[in-house]
Amino acid sequence: MLEIKNLHAEVEGNKILRGINLTINPGEIHAIMGPNGSGKSTLSYVLAGKEDYEITEGEILFNGENVLEMEIDERAAAGLFLAMQYPIEIPGVANMTFLKTALNAQRVARGEGELKTPDFMKKVKELSAKLNVTQEMLRRPLNVGFSGGEKKRNEILQMALLEPKLCILDETDSGLDIDALRIVSEGVNALKSPERSMLVITHYQRLLNYIVPDVVHVMYKGQIVKTGDKSLALELEEKGYAEFTGEVAA
């Protein structure tokens, strides 16, 4: 599904990613953990195509296609979805209009044709009920005046609606209380399938109690420094990142 080979990226001359290698197979859930500033969010932005980063080396293949040559929206239409750490507020664009425009843009890009309004409404209604996204939130401008939890639920609603092949969750747990975390995790788990992969980026092990990973990576200073199974997350929770920060810094 996703193959990252020796990926180096920098922003304004600062090297952030220093040789990332990562392979995710269909149906797998991978978690990336690591201390602040290790480059986790940068990796997610580079995958999605944010233009602030310069890729100096390496490649990213998504189902065999060279991701680095694709536009941001082409990546989305190909099935790559980034649930953002800080979903942006867009006054003047109604949430519902945004959802419909996004879904239809992807469908058209894939040659599937637009979804008719009644079918779209039905789909949104079903999914939003599960995620506790109210009609009022759908009518409001995108994310404007949403609480932290509402914004994250709205991210997961987009993910559920767009049915991507690879879901990248960038610190989706940040700013969530226990109840919100449960709703969001259930939403994510409902999307698990043998054809869909996930990359979960988080500081804390807590989220991984709900979304159980197959593989856990530790990222530090722009590299993956350790890979293990879900027990690695528990180990990190107990011992912290000192092992890595000490080791690499020494």
């Binding site: 999605a48 929206d73 945004f98 401008p141 767009l162």
Partner: protein
């Protein structure tokens, strides 16, 4: 002010047009003397140079062509045909008054649902009968566009709305230019005490080079509610010199929205005088300027009496090599205590070659008032673009959505839902976002 002699070809052409048209223009003797006073003033000053403060950012001398002639009367069959394409507010049903090349056409107007509360008369006819007096508010005195309007005035409509009338269907005053040339219009809308009415002014034209000098005078009596929507949709070679004057009585709610959407050179200026206490005036607007177009919104708000509120909020989107201007002046006279006036002008630049001139001015002589102004000028937010594109929306479509979103915040000020619908439909269509 020094008096520059008439120099440019456009000045000469205009002076000779005023001279040659004199005999053919309507009006009794007393109006003829007003015309010649305006003509002499023009002889003396010519078109404003950029040294004239009010015209610093809009070079009318340069914009006015050197080959000027009055627009010709149009065959009514042709006018009818053009008129169907000039329907730019399909979303709203209106009673319609039509002016073709500056001349009121009762035949082309649709007054079926007008009712008894509205009367309509042609300005040319009133001028002949000596029944049309010019009486501009103090802040509009000496304005060059209005002075030229007096010199060359051809026709217009005088609409009177009876006291206490509540008019359901908005009244549309539709201006259409066909085949090029210069036309000069002055309309007057008299809003009776306690009446409620919506007026839509639309301006369209074909591809020919033309110059429309259009003015409208709103006289709003006490307790009335007036909503105005003004859509400037001139042809690509059209020059639009538009003036709004309004005198506002007491306990009035006056709301005015200008959409400057097309035309080669557009100057839309408003002069509003608050003359009665406890009134609100909301002046809103949005401008979409692209190509090498020039669009100027100029307003003067005169708070002459106490206890009134005014809001001035404008948004401008500029692309390509377009030039935008916003000049907003709020005057609070010494006697106008407890005035609350807020002005905001925001621009969005989509191109590095576009430019925007933003000049808010407050002139406050009273000491117990709340007044403020703000001005911003920025580009599209890259983070917003990224968010939309990361959901699969193309760059082009994402930009358009953000432009719409920027303008939607101006439109949401409008209280009449029908006007909101008309504006949204127009802008969505213009941006290519309509379903």
């Amino acid at each position: 002010m020094t008096t520059p002699a008439i120099k440019t070809a456009a000045d000469k052409a205009l002076a000779s047009l005023i001279e040659s048209a004199k005999g053919a223009l309507p009006g009794n003797e007393s109006f003829a003397s007003l015309r010649s006073a305006a003509a002499s003033a023009f002889e003396e000053n010519g078109l404003p140079t950029r040294r004239v403060e009010e015209w610093k950012y809009s070079d009318l001398k340069k914009a006015m062509p050197a080959d000027l002639a009055l627009a010709q009367p149009v065959d009514s069959a042709l006018a009818k045909q053009q008129l169907s394409g000039a329907d730019i507010i399909k979303a709203v049903e209106t009673c319609r008054l039509v002016l073709v090349n500056g001349i009121y056409s009762a035949e082309l107007s649709d007054l079926a649902d007008l009712g008894d509360a509205i009367s309509v008369r042609s300005v040319a006819e009133a001028l002949q009968a000596g029944e049309f007096q010019l009486d501009d508010p103090a802040i509009a005195q000496g304005d060059i566009a209005l002075s030229l309007n007096t010199a060359l005035l051809q026709d217009g409509v005088i609409v009177e709305i009876a006291a206490g009338a509540e008019i359901d269907k908005p009244l549309e005053i539709r201006h259409i230019m066909i085949g090029g040339g210069m036309a000069t219009v002055r309309n007057r809308v008299v809003i009776g005490k306690g009446s409620k009415v919506g007026v839509i002014e639309t301006f369209t034209g074909d591809e020919a080079a033309y110059q429309l000098n259009t003015a409208i005078d709103y006289r709003v009596a006490d307790d009335a509610k007036l909503n105005v929507l003004r859509i400037i949709n001139e042809g690509d070679n059209g020059l639009h010199l538009g003036s709004t004057t309004a005198t506002v009585g007491g306990h009035v709610h006056f709301e005015h929205f200008t959409l400057s959407a097309s035309g080669k050179f557009v100057r839309s200026q408003s002069f509003v005088a608050m003359l009665g206490e406890y009134s609100d005036a909301d002046l809103f607007g949005a401008s979409l300027v692209n190509g090498s177009r020039h669009s100027d919104i100029t307003l003067k708000m005169d708070h002459a009496v106490p206890n009134c509120n005014s809001k001035e909020q404008y948004r401008t989107v500029l692309d390509d090599k377009a030039v935008g201007v916003f000049q907003g002046q709020i005057i609070v006279r010494q006697y106008a205590q407890k005035t609350d006036a807020k002005m905001m002008s925001q621009a969005l630049l989509l191109s590095e070659d576009a430019s925007f001139n933003n000049k808010p001015e407050l002139e406050i002589y009273a000491d117990d008032v709340v007044c403020g102004h703000g001005a911003t000028c920025g580009e599209l937010d890259e983070d917003l673009l990224f968010y939309l594109r990361a959901r699969g929306i193309s760059k082009d479509l994402a930009k358009k959505m953000l432009v719409m979103a920027f303008l939607a915040e101006a439109i949401e000020n409008v209280s009449d839902d029908r006007f909101v619908e008309a504006l949204e439909a127009y802008i969505l269509d213009r941006l290519g976002l309509a379903d």
